[in-house]
Subunit: 302 residues, 2 copies
Amino acid sequence: MFAVTILGNNSAIPTPERHPTAQVVTFNDLLLLVDCGEGTQLQLARYKVRRSRIRHILISHLHGDHYFGLIGLINSLSLLGRIEPLTIYGPPELEEILRLQLSAAGTLLKFDLQFVALLPDKTGLLFREKDLDVSYFPTRHRIPCYGFIFHAQRHRRRVVPEQARAYEIPSAYYTRLSEGADYERKDGLLVKNDWVTLPPAPGKKYVYCADTIYDEDLVPHMQGADLVYHETTYLHELEQRAQERFHSTTVQAATLAQRAEAKRLIIGHFSSKYTELQPFLDESRPVFANTDLALEGATYII
Amino acid sequence: MFAVTILGNNSAIPTPERHPTAQVVTFNDLLLLVDCGEGTQLQLARYKVRRSRIRHILISHLHGDHYFGLIGLINSLSLLGRIEPLTIYGPPELEEILRLQLSAAGTLLKFDLQFVALLPDKTGLLFREKDLDVSYFPTRHRIPCYGFIFHAQRHRRRVVPEQARAYEIPSAYYTRLSEGADYERKDGLLVKNDWVTLPPAPGKKYVYCADTIYDEDLVPHMQGADLVYHETTYLHELEQRAQERFHSTTVQAATLAQRAEAKRLIIGHFSSKYTELQPFLDESRPVFANTDLALEGATYII
């Protein structure tokens, strides 16, 4: 299971119908929270996401609609008795903000809260856990902002049992084979690894582009992704406003997905001014057919 | 119109049904927000309270369920184009927390955001506006915490027109009379103010006791209040837990209201462990009959 669940698809001002940005990436039993606008803890409850299983939280930037719900979530995790460590990745000021709030409340967490600062001059791999690589890249926004790449890549080669048996390799050795080892038989024959294994299965890639102005420099990061999330704060007619506010339109998001040869695009971060979302699809699909709305509560398989 | 509207009546962990603490005190066209848990801006929208008219925000203490929604509200007010000044009263760390968050977001407010630090060694009047006096007092909680007294007190004496006419005082002079002035007639007679006026109408008093352990020192602050809000995080059977966590029970809140000869009590800040609220009334009313639940969306006339 490799999927993303949308918890909020609205931009800055929350409404009762649409919530600020938050997504949960699920990779088997590993949960990662991506951005955490105000009220995210209630959205997690509403969509029955098990808060306790979130191990990493990635914050793209420090506009409130992407992180004002984080301190409340941490506080609730603490009240609920969490002891498992939690790592937060975000701009460096985030740690100071959270530590100050915890200190003012006299809160002593019973779990280890670690911070990893995202810095403009250091992009690349953030962490690897259980065959999931998570890396980050800068987007162009009014303040420092980062997108994230979730790459589920099995690193083990696939043993072909018929071949392995033909060379009389004991099955107890298959794990070593999957790690790339050769096998030396008692009769002295060296069975080369690639005689009995196939390369790792191709990976799946989800790219979260956070908030951004239209930026062709994002294309290499999105290249060939199975799923891309790109913001569409505005419809096409407000391209000028999007530019001024470092946001994007439907046509711009779809254009990048098309150039990057992505397989599928989901769009969100809709301005509160819009009550109807169908026009977002109507404008995106002619440019990139496989576009869907990032709907709250919906899960998109990667 | 002097009233309080409840926006949230739950304690620490928010639930979809009950929200963290927030109340709006309305005094004619003046709105004051008292505490501001996560999601308060949505509660304001839900109950059609005009955010733009809030001029003062009082934060009792820095546990998250009393202020995590404040930065989001300020941010939205800014996005909505507010220019009217806003004053926030709260523990001193609050200013640093908010300024840090505004700075990290690159937000330049177009309105004047003022802070007044509440300090344990300085209690008393916070401000007076339009015949409303707002003062504060310490409560006993795990961290510094304050209650607030809202005292609507007309300071003008009431002119008795029949009397004033009998002394041939021109009606243009009534404003001066209401301010306490005597009137000297052309024939030399000095009409003493209290011959033609009555004392100001008696005031109305609302006392918000915030979070607190059972504390008889609160009684003088609550004395004779028309309406008291007192927390009842727990039912009576958890008195020991209430004590340990610096919270109160139903019986304790009702006991204080009774001792203070308050006219009416509303109770709230219910622990998330409770789904039914009727037992809170069943336990409070035998001690203090005029008790009601502080229900979200309900307005209580003071």
